[in-house]
């Protein structure tokens, strides 16, 4: 009786392990492969050494613009907003996260702020791509409020899909306000992590800029000019850890030129940004932790559980069968006929 119960328990444990193993692979890990509503990514910083840039300043009480040359550090912090995400209904209910994003660029020698921006974006929790939402906003002008629906994000921006593929994605260019292709270029190792390298090339094109800004820049930077046009080009490279979709390294070359009506051409921005060593280390560490969790629970733990399950199922089956087998009558006769040894 005891053997039968033990066998049944072992068999049940085997099935338990089997169901848990399959559930980990097909239920739990897919649920974990979503951006948590309260995930707060690390503060990231990119640095551009010896950059050329425009700096607004005041000379003799007159606002003007000057060209600066120094290292630039651009820092980005993200606050997850679960309450805003909870307001997203319809087909995206519980499928999108909302991030408030704050970015500030300073020259590293003086600490002067060169530019600031803040935005709000809703992203699909699985693909990392921006989703249509009327609460999205972006503000990068002095005193400008982040007004809902003043921007429509699309494509990838801060994250790539879980299980990123070697293909071409759309990546949002905040300057152009639209997504452009970013192509898979190859596989590289970054801080011990296998990553997919994607590159986006934005050929030089004219930007739509209000005439007041153009006139101000032309008047400040090109004596004799009264207006002009602004031109922009960029090349971005991102290194994505494919299991988590995290951007573990980032590099961007950006170039802006003012072509004045006097024929002069002024470089407004010439910078090559890349993650600082501290950011690279921190992002790689967090990504490594996330990858280990997903690969461990999705691959190694299920394999171990299946081995355990098979052993328990077979053991349980054999034990139960042996317990149910009737005892041969010959054994009883042998016991009954056994004679006690005579006392000495």
């Amino acid at each position: 009786m005891k053997k039968r119960i033990a066998g049944a328990a072992l068999f049940g444990a085997g099935l338990f392990f089997l169901v848990v193993a399959l559930s980990l692979g097909f239920v739990v890990v897919p649920l974990l492969s979503r951006i948590p509503f309260d995930l707060k990514p690390p503060v990231t910083a990119v640095i551009a050494h010896d950059a050329t840039f425009v700096q607004a300043t005041v000379v003799n009480d007159v606002p003007t613009a000057v060209i600066g040359h120094a290292d630039l550090v651009s820092t980005t912090g993200i606050n997850p907003d679960a309450a805003a995400a909870a307001d997203i209904g319809g087909s995206m209910k519980n499928k999108a996260v909302v991030w408030n994003v704050f970015t500030q660029t300073r020259r590293s020698d003086t600490g002067d702020v060169i530019s600031s921006s803040n935005g709000r974006i809703a992203m699909d929790r699985v693909t990392g791509a921006a989703v249509a939402w009327n609460g999205e906003c972006y503000a990068d002008q002095l005193g400008q409020a982040c007004q809902a629906s003043n921007i429509a994000y699309s494509g990838q921006l801060y994250a790539f899909p879980f299980n990123t593929r070697k293909t071409t994605y759309q990546y949002y260019d905040i300057t152009l306000r639209k997504a452009l292709p970013i192509e898979y270029q190859g596989t590289e190792t970054v801080k011990g992590l296998t990553t997919y390298r994607f590159t986006q090339v934005v050929p030089e094109r004219q930007l739509t800029v209000d005439s007041a800004t153009l006139d101000f820049l032309a008047g400040s930077l090109a004596p004799g000019a009264t207006g002009g046009s602004m031109w922009y080009s960029a090349t971005r490279t991102v290194w994505v850890e494919p299991v988590t979709g995290s951007v573990v390294n980032y590099a961007e070359e950006q170039h802006r030129t003012l072509r004045t009506d006097s024929g002069a051409s002024v470089v407004l921005l010439d910078a090559k940004f890349q993650y600082t060593p501290q950011t690279l280390t921190e992002v790689a560490r967090q990504t490594s932790d996330g990858r280990l969790l997903l690969v461990g629970l999705g691959r190694w733990v299920p394999v171990a559980l299946i081995v355990l399950a098979l052993a328990a199922l077979v053991s349980g089956f054999l034990l139960t069968r042996r317990a149910a087998r009737p005892v041969p009558p010959a054994a009883h006769r042998a016991d009954e006929d056994r004679t006690e040894p005579a006392p000495v």
């Binding site: 068999f11 085997g14 099935l15 089997l18 649920l31 089956f317």
Partner: protein, 58 residues
């Protein structure tokens, strides 16, 4: 026949416990946005609209 019945009972209990366990774990690892928002609201120090410390004034 008795062997089969015994194994079946064990299997049913094992599978049932596993399914209940997985369901419980699934709820824990995948809370709704409302649940997370309530938890964040309870944390009085957290304001998602507040800029991070590095974000000074211009």
């Amino acid at each position: 026949m008795k062997t089969l019945q015994t194994l079946l009972v064990g299997a049913l209990i094992g599978a049932l416990v596993a399914v209940l366990g997985v369901a419980a774990v699934s709820r824990v690892v995948n809370p709704s946005a409302v649940d997370v928002a309530h938890r964040q609201a309870a944390d009085t120090g957290y304001d998602p609209a507040a800029p991070p410390p590095f974000y000074g004034t211009r």
